[in-house]
């Protein structure tokens, strides 16, 4: 998919995913989780990755970190191919890339004290001096809005979901990484807490000079934090472009469908009567051609015969559709 064209703003991207394919074998059948996705994330930006469950967005995040090895394709981080790395080299590289998960409570070991949980990455990366470790842990806990003195001796069950997510963020930040993959970091949280955590992520990004890949199914949440958004459907990228542009003028019918489906908190806005048709097909047997065609109002013969390639329809806005909603400029 167009390896020559650059999706991200000027400069070499910090993360470049090239034609990544990830498949799982399940009971003799194959799940096509990620089928040839190419993405770029520029240094200092936040790329939002949206899609419904089973679209492969989490798999993509894991494949970037090599927690799930790809069948083919490359993951270039700062110019180096992570897919070719193993053992210590990969471990060293992972200090620069961290991951935050959806369920903050499940991602903390219930038997370990918060101080030890947050210090763990330091232990693994070889910071031997306990005094130094404690200093770094306290610093990062204060940064995420927790009082280190009150927190480090306690256990995860003493904290709420929002506080646990703060602890997870602290753990991700303690090695001073350059890149954080946030996989649905707020979807398990209540509305009032969600806003706190989103604001915190934005603050941390500015303070630590981070680059983020922000994976979520909620478009409004993604838009709130992302410079650019990428939309995935059944393992393929549908659309990628600047957030404002994509939300104001979606090019791919699937993006438009997702935007229309967001419930608007205003009783004057009548919800569109069932904009969506049908359900996503199984990733075990994705449709031929464009994978969205079975639910797409614009689909025709060409969509089942030919896989649409990502092409630039507006400046920096790419969509993989034979019948896009905006004309190519």
């Amino acid at each position: 998919m167009m390896p020559g064209v650059q999706q991200s703003p000027a400069g070499a991207p910090l993360l470049k995913v090239e034609n990544l394919v990830v498949e799982y074998a399940v009971g003799g059948r194959t799940i096509h989780a990620v089928s040839g996705v190419s993405l770029e994330v520029a240094r200092g930006e936040t790329l939002g990755l949206v899609g419904e469950s089973g679209c492969g967005k989490s798999t993509l995040g894991r494949a970037v970190l090599q927690l799930r090895r790809a069948q083919s394709g490359r993951v270039l981080f700062d110019g180096e191919d992570l897919t070719a790395m193993h053992g210590d080299t990969l471990r060293k590289m992972r200090q620069r890339v961290q991951l935050i998960f959806q369920d903050p409570i499940a991602s903390l070991n219930p038997r370990r004290r918060i101080g030890d949980i947050v210090a763990e990455p330091l232990v693994i990366s070889g910071v031997k001096d306990p005094g130094k470790r404690k200093e770094l842990v306290c610093e990062v806990l204060s940064a995420v809005g927790l009082d280190p003195e009150l927190v480090i001796e306690r256990l995860p069950h003493e904290f709420s979901g929002g506080q646990c997510q703060r602890i997870c963020i602290a753990r991700a930040l303690v090695l001073n990484p350059e890149f954080i993959i946030c996989d649905e970091p707020v979807s398990a949280l209540d509305v009032s807490i969600r806003a706190q955590i989103l604001n915190l992520l934005e603050d941390m990004k500015a303070r630590f000079g981070l680059t983020l890949l922000f994976i979520a199914h909620d478009l409004a949440v993604v838009k709130a934090v992302s410079d650019r958004v990428a939309v995935m459907y059944l393992g393929r990228l549908c659309e990628v472009g600047p957030s404002e542009q994509v939300f104001a003028h979606p090019a791919h019918p699937y993006t438009a469908l997702l935007i229309e489906a967001i419930p608007v908190p205003d009783p004057e806005v009548r919800p569109a009567e069932s904009v969506a048709v049908g359900e996503p097909p199984s990733p075990m047997s994705p449709p031929s051609g464009c994978r969205f065609r079975t639910r797409c109002p614009r689909a025709d013969q060409r969509c089942s015969d030919e896989v649409p390639e990502l092409r630039e329809l507006a400046p920096m806005q790419f969509a993989a559709c034979h019948h896009p909603l905006i004309a190519a400029s």
């Binding site: 419904e52 009032s192 806003a195 934090v225 009783p267 806005v269 069932s274 359900e279």
Partner: protein, 331 residues
């Protein structure tokens, strides 16, 4: 409301004993739902919205203590004998839960579960029940309904399972349907479909519905009235359009403001509500929201505000320092 309420929750409190002490899950709640009306109950996790719905259904945990009355169709459900209650549940009082995988029996086919309900409550014979099941599955938008009858829940997607759960709930033409976070486990595009389906069936059957959700966006276009709950109490209650036009309780407004707006520019800071809900086993003396409220002053920390009427008797709020300006609520 001109006609008498179908469901009237009167001064209901629910207490749960926990190792940490008594937990007051629902605290003196009064609610009414008329036939053919939809009431939205909005609140965050732990606010008591689910416990309240379970109090209505009389499906509370065994150790829970309930006080107050739940009048449904002229009878007090709290004092109804178990056999009559069982007949009522599933027949005139139906429920759809958040997770269809846990509400459906995984080892029985869709058909068995539907037909069982119909035979139990409507006393249909096998043939008629099967015919009715196919019609119901078709009505909730399930393709090839006849084949689905022989399938098991795990063979269906989450959205399809929720449709089946709705079909079972609707099967006996209930007078009241309680939908407890019916779309929270579903994807956005499926959420819209399921909410539309519920709204359509509710209108068609002139059924009363209670839609429980944490999302103000979900209740906005789909309810007649909304009750906002916080720490076990109803803190604001109003006809939906009146509520969104003019929110009086600072919590309601903060809840709305905390939702990321789709038309806001990226990186716009969100108005978060600081702190977190109070521990329900450690009741606060004053207004439960006062520790997080930017308007809280002296009295708020000492006394619990009661629901008082605003512009109309239908719009009530529990606050000593309500927001009175109409403008800027959705900004």
């Amino acid at each position: 409301m001109s006609e008498p309420a179908l469901l009237s929750v009167e001064n209901v409190s629910v207490d749960l004993p926990t190792p940490r002490g008594n937990l007051r899950a629902v605290d003196h709640v009064d609610l009414k739902v008329g036939a053919g009306r939809t009431l939205g109950i909005v609140g965050e996790s732990g606010c008591g919205k689910t416990m309240l719905s379970r109090a209505v259904l009389q499906l509370l945990p065994k150790k829970a203590k309930l006080s107050g009355r739940v009048m449904f169709d002229g009878q007090d459900l709290v004092r109804l004998d178990p056999e009559r209650l069982r007949k009522l549940r599933g027949r005139s009082l139906a429920v759809v839960f958040q997770d269809p995988m846990t509400s459906l029996n995984p080892v029985l086919t869709i058909g068995t579960q539907l037909i069982e309900t119909l035979q139990e409550h409507l006393e249909l014979d096998g043939h008629a029940a099967k015919k009715r099941s196919v019609e119901l599955l078709a009505a909730v938008g399930i393709p090839a309904p006849e084949q689905r009858l022989t399938q098991y829940p795990h063979q269906l997607s989450g959205g399809m399972r929720q449709r089946v759960a709705i079909a079972i709930a609707l099967s006996c033409e209930p007078k009241l349907l309680i939908a407890d976070e019916p779309t929270t486990a579903l994807d956005v595009t499926i959420q819209a479909q399921i909410l539309d389906l519920l709204a359509r069936e509710q209108r068609r059957r002139h059924m009363a519905m209670i839609l429980i959700t944490h999302d103000l966006g979900v209740v906005a276009g789909r309810t007649n009235e909304v009750a906002v709950m916080y720490a076990g109490r109803v803190v604001e209650r109003a006809p939906t359009s009146a509520l969104f036009r003019n929110m009086h309780m600072p919590y309601t407004q903060a809840l709305l403001a905390a939702i990321p707006k789709i038309d806001a520019a990226p990186h716009t800071p969100l108005s978060a509500i600081s702190g977190r809900p109070p521990d329900p086993t450690r009741p606060i003396q004053g207004c439960s929201f006062s520790p997080r409220c930017r308007f809280a002053a002296g009295l708020c920390h000492r006394e619990k505000p009661v629901l008082t009427a605003a512009e109309s008797a239908a719009h009530q709020f529990a606050c000593f320092h309500p927001i009175l300006a109409a403008a800027g609520v959705t900004a």
